[in-house]
């Protein structure tokens, strides 16, 4: 069957088998390998992408056919104009990653969280990330990174400096 999916602002039309899972469509049909495959059974969260702007979905547990006519944001879509997204910068600043395998899923789950709750407290961040596994960091620095990104995103624009 033919599907049309907008990924990171670009419209792609591709022929897929109905049983093609979204994560394999993104990685193999579109070459967007930033979205990882982990457990492949919806337990680990490394494959999370954002559907229609604010819904985090595990792309190993969704058919590409279900995305027909929809809008997908992957980790490749976070960088704008060559500048890291505040979440990406915060993960860098706070050492929110070690091996990096879970990071795309952590970023996209956090991205959807901040769309719904721009200023989540620490328990809300831990709760939102409960479906994303990290075996390196112990989560502490991931939580700190999301807190930093939320604070930056919500901070008022700096006043022009008087000269």
């Amino acid at each position: 069957m033919k599907i049309s999916v907008t990924v990171n602002g670009t419209l792609y039309e591709r022929e897929v088998e109905p049983r093609t899972l979204l994560v394999y469509f993104l990685r193999e049909a579109l070459g967007l390998t930033g979205t990882h495959v982990g457990c492949d059974t919806s337990s680990c969260g490394v494959c999370v992408v954002v559907l229609d702007g604010d819904r985090a979905v595990k792309s190993c547990t969704m058919f590409a056919a279900m995305a027909d006519g929809h809008d997908i944001t992957t980790v490749e879509g976070l960088v704008q104009g060559g500048k890291l997204h505040p979440l990406q910068q915060a993960f860098w600043d706070c050492h929110g990653l070690q091996c990096g395998y879970c990071t795309p899923g952590m970023l996209m789950t956090s991205y959807a969280l901040l769309k719904h709750q721009p200023n989540p407290d620490e328990p809300a961040i831990r709760e939102a990330l409960a479906g994303n596994l990290c075996r390196c960091t112990g989560y502490q620095n991931i939580v700190k990174a999301v807190q930093q990104a939320a604070a930056e995103t919500n901070a008022p624009a700096p006043e022009p400096v008087a000269t």
Partner: protein, 293 residues
């Protein structure tokens, strides 16, 4: 593993969905959130020849009170309950449940009605639906019928929804005054299947006695089980520590769990009783009755 091949349909209306389900009969499965069906297909535990994807039916996504009932549409996702002021203020049993289903990302896709239709022995919503006396509205080519949750849960992974039929919504009676509930679950980690689960719903009369109780347990048999013996003990009685212990014992007696790496039969039976007691204590605390722990 990839699922076996299938034909995919995405109807644009309920009538179109019913026409597809009628045409393909037993070969077709309804795809809603997909959070149980897709893993089952990946493990080749399910091999439907046809999927009817109802995600485009936005008219089936609602939470609304009608004629003394809360209606939850077939495309209403778990996350919608978690963030609904109506649910958190008036339906604490449902709010408890929606916060404990799978994990927060899965809940952004998974649906309440889909979970009921999957009827996993360890599923959450069957337990709450039994304690909450829910009804399911099912539509087929020849008309619409309403079945009680007791009749809906037929066997593991089997419900009263027949070939060619679509479950449209689940309805929960709006709790009368002096009613509260609680859902309790033991899981090894967020997102794992329940080791044990229980739901309790209590209505008190003007004298502080229990006017009506609903008790159910999960992961303790072929599907969620209503603990009728506990309900009979509770109805008409004043809540005491001894009564709560006896209600828990009725759940221990009824529970018929399978041993697995989550625990032994003995442990799971005991936890069914512990969770019924915890659920009752939490529900009564929500009604201002303390000191029963």
């Amino acid at each position: 593993m990839f699922p076996a091949p299938f034909d995919y349909h995405r109807p644009g209306s309920v009538d179109e969905a019913l026409a597809l389900l009628t045409r393909y009969g037993a070969d077709a499965r309804v795809l809603a959130g997909g959070q149980s069906l897709i893993p089952a297909m990946r493990f080749r535990l399910a091999r439907p020849a046809v999927l009817v994807d109802i995600n485009a039916l936005s008219e089936l996504s609602y939470l609304r009170e009608v004629d003394g009932m809360l209606a939850i549409g077939a495309m209403t996702r778990d996350a919608a309950l978690e963030t609904s002021a109506l649910i958190t203020s008036k339906y604490p049993l449902l709010a408890d449940t929606s916060a404990l289903v799978a994990d927060p990302v899965v809940r952004q896709s998974g649906t309440v009605v889909g979970s009921l239709c999957h009827n996993d022995p360890a599923g959450d919503w069957g337990v709450t639906a039994l304690a909450g006396r829910a009804q399911i509205v099912i539509r087929g080519a020849t008309g619409t019928r309403t079945v009680t949750i007791d009749d809906f849960l037929v066997d593991s992974f089997t419900t009263a929804v027949g070939d060619g039929e679509l479950a449209l919504e689940v309805r929960f009676p709006t709790p009368p005054p002096r009613t509260a509930g609680s859902y309790q679950k033991i899981e090894r980690k967020v997102g794992d299947f329940a080791t044990a689960a229980a739901a309790a719903r209590i209505t008190l009369d003007a004298n502080g006695a229990i006017a009506d109780a609903g008790i159910a347990i999960g992961a303790a048999g072929p599907h969620a089980l209503r603990v009728r013996d506990a309900e009979l003990l509770l109805n008409g009685a004043k809540p005491t520590k001894e009564l709560i212990r006896a209600a828990g014992d009725a759940a221990r007696k009824l529970a018929d769990p399978a041993a697995d790496n989550r625990g032994s039969v003995e442990y799971k039976k005991d936890m069914a009783g512990v969770l019924v007691a915890r659920g009752l204590i939490a529900a009564l605390a929500r009604l201002g009755v303390e000191g029963l722990r």
